[in-house]
């Protein structure tokens, strides 16, 4: 915590302002449609941040993360529909289930390098979708095959995770995002983070330095899958209707990977910036071109990805960080220096 607060005052001040702004946002924006778009931006930033634990730090490219999001959505929903269990508990159960499935998938696949891991995860993600589309019922749980599940509408209440207005959804996902970003920060600045990065970049060298690379990758995978599934439950409660193609398909997996790659994988803010840039594109193409050209947003994502990879291979987080340094931190430091005379600037 000390490290986190050990930043330049200007950065702390701006972060505090930004956070404050985020928390009063629902008071300013009254349109539920706009609020929905903003909630989805935050949700995608959250989902991509959970992806980042594996895709950003463990040096592999997972392209089937929707499998775990789907597990979260289906678990909490069927438990509520069948037993009336609060989605909050279902969320945790879904998370644990996804973590177990993630571990089972990760054990054999995390040893694969590069494209092979990506292909294996695509196969698993797609396999999961086909499975859910072809099963109508598992024991007492109705999952309705390809037509999906509509959630029973109940009165607005926290325990039932259903609300009349958009604001509560916004606050819930915003807090989830902030917590996962905080977790990312602490992981990056810990032994686990260093070992993950080392194992991702040069596994042989990492093992020679005493790192059991496979175990650290598995830890990242389990954390990532658990958190992704929580996002799945949130998605279900927000939309109140989902079907295999909406939550288990390749579209969702790819969109998350696109957001991470364009934003900057392996960084804290990359997924947030990526979601801020790409979600509006996705929404606008869906609204204006959805009827005539469905899936156009993925083509646009592809074009943006090519451009970003060409000019900023580390993602847009890189130029943005440079801009912030140049226009906010440096001018401020200069002022401080001239104000405090010759005192050396020890910050950073």
């Amino acid at each position: 915590m000390k490290q986190l607060l050990d930043q330049k005052p200007i950065v702390l001040l701006l972060s505090a302002l930004l956070l404050g702004g985020l928390f009063i946002l629902p008071l300013v924006i009254t349109s539920p449609a706009l609020m929905q778009i903003i909630i989805l931006i935050v949700l995608y930033a959250y989902l991509t941040s959970t992806w980042n634990f594996v895709g950003g730090f463990a040096g592999v490219l997972p392209l089937g993360h929707s499998a775990f999001i789907g597990i979260g959505a289906y678990t909490s929903t069927v438990l509520m529909q069948t037993f009336g269990l609060s989605p909050w508990f279902g969320m945790i159960i879904g998370g644990l289930l996804a973590a177990m499935v993630g571990a089972a998938i990760g054990l054999p696949t995390l040893k694969l390098r590069g494209a092979y891991f990506a292909l294996a995860t695509i196969a698993i993600g797609e396999g999961m979708r086909v499975l859910f589309e072809n099963v109508k019922q598992v024991g007492p749980f109705k999952i309705n095959g390809p037509s999906g599940i509509s959630l029973k509408l109940v009165e607005s209440s926290f325990m039932d995770f259903q609300f009349d207005s958009k604001a509560p959804y916004y606050y819930i996902i915003l807090i989830m995002l902030l917590l996962v970003l905080l977790l990312t920060y602490f992981m990056m600045n810990s032994k686990v983070g260093y070992y993950l990065a080392a194992g991702g970049e040069e596994p042989e060298a990492a093992e020679a330095l005493g790192i059991k690379v496979a175990r650290y990758k598995l830890i990242a995978m389990v954390i990532s899958c658990f958190l992704a599934a929580l996002g799945g439950t949130f998605y279900a409660q927000l939309m109140l209707y989902f079907y295999p193609k909406s939550i288990l398909g390749l579209d969702l997996s790819f969109e998350i990977a696109f957001i991470a790659l364009i934003g900057g994988r392996g960084t804290i803010l990359g997924p947030v910036l990526g979601a801020l840039l790409l979600r509006p594109v996705s929404e606008l193409t869906r609204i204006y071109l959805g009827a005539s050209l469905p899936g156009l947003h993925l083509i646009i994502f592809g074009l943006v990805l090519i451009m970003v990879m060409r000019y900023y291979p580390a993602g847009i987080v890189e130029p943005i960080r440079n801009l912030i340094n140049k226009y906010i931190i440096e001018p401020f430091n200069k002022e401080k220096k001239s104000a405090e005379g010759s005192e050396a600037d020890k910050a950073d």
């Binding site: 490290q3 032994k191 060298a205 093992e207 020679a208 330095l209």
Partner: protein, 243 residues
């Protein structure tokens, strides 16, 4: 008891015998050299000791414990750390970050790891480069970073795989005192090297390998006078002209 006892280690790759019943002993505090022509099996021997692949047969006793067939990360936890002939820095990370990855073998805490890493970097004269991304280092610096990372794990035995390969003569002469300095802090060193002059200078004891077999062992002067060694390096006819 010797620190490292390698007994009759053999490594076969399908038909090929890369290392053939090789034995050697290393006492604590020594610098021991392993030399031999290209493809003699030096690096394979190293890989067997460091756990990169298990020996087909034979035993490797380190500090009284059998380590043959253990995984590389277990070998490191026993106290043997290796460097790589082709340097493998964590390229996108800074020099300090690279060294801290090694230092985490000793501690769980970030600031302690940083402390250890900075000490090691100072010891090797790399501390002024600590914030530089490792991919922009020069080759001699990368070789030194490789050493720094290995040293940060606080090994009892350091396995150096051609740390001087690819360096210019002047850079080699800079590297020699560094290796001696590391040895003086109590780290035992086994060094595989091509460059004869370098290894003659450093080692107390030398093993010569050719076609996977040990052809000579002893102090540097004995080894260079050995007929088999001259044959291996220069060819049969030179043995005759020597006399």
């Amino acid at each position: 008891m010797s620190l490292l006892e390698v007994t009759k280690v053999t490594k076969k790759f399908s038909g090929l015998v890369a290392v053939n019943e090789f034995s050697m002993t290393v006492e604590a505090g020594q610098i021991v050299g392993v030399i031999g022509p290209n493809g003699a099996g030096k690096t394979t021997l190293f890989n067997c000791i460091a756990g990169a692949f298990p020996p087909t047969s034979g035993s490797i006793i380190f500090n009284g414990q059998e380590v043959a067939g253990k995984k590389p990360y277990e070998i490191c936890q026993f106290g043997i750390t290796r460097t790589f002939q082709v340097v493998k820095p964590f390229a996108s990370k800074s020099v300090l970050y690279n060294t801290m990855v090694g230092a985490f073998a000793q501690t769980q805490h970030l600031h302690e790891a940083e402390h250890i890493a900075i000490e090691v970097l100072q010891f090797l004269g790399l501390d002024h480069k600590k914030d530089i991304v490792s991919k922009s280092l020069t080759l001699p610096e990368r070789k030194r970073l490789e050493l720094a990372r290995a040293l940060a794990t606080k090994p009892k035995l350091l396995l150096l795989d051609e740390v001087m390969a690819g360096l210019r003569p002047v850079e080699v002469t800079e590297m020699l005192p560094i290796i001696r300095k590391i040895n003086e802090t109590g780290v035992t060193i086994v060094i595989v090297e091509h460059i004869m002059q370098a290894i003659m200078n450093l080692s107390e004891k030398i093993y010569v390998v050719n076609f996977g077999k040990k052809i000579a062992e002893g102090d540097p002067d004995t080894v260079v006078a050995d007929e088999e060694v001259i044959k291996a390096y220069l060819g049969d006819e030179y043995v005759v002209t020597q006399h």
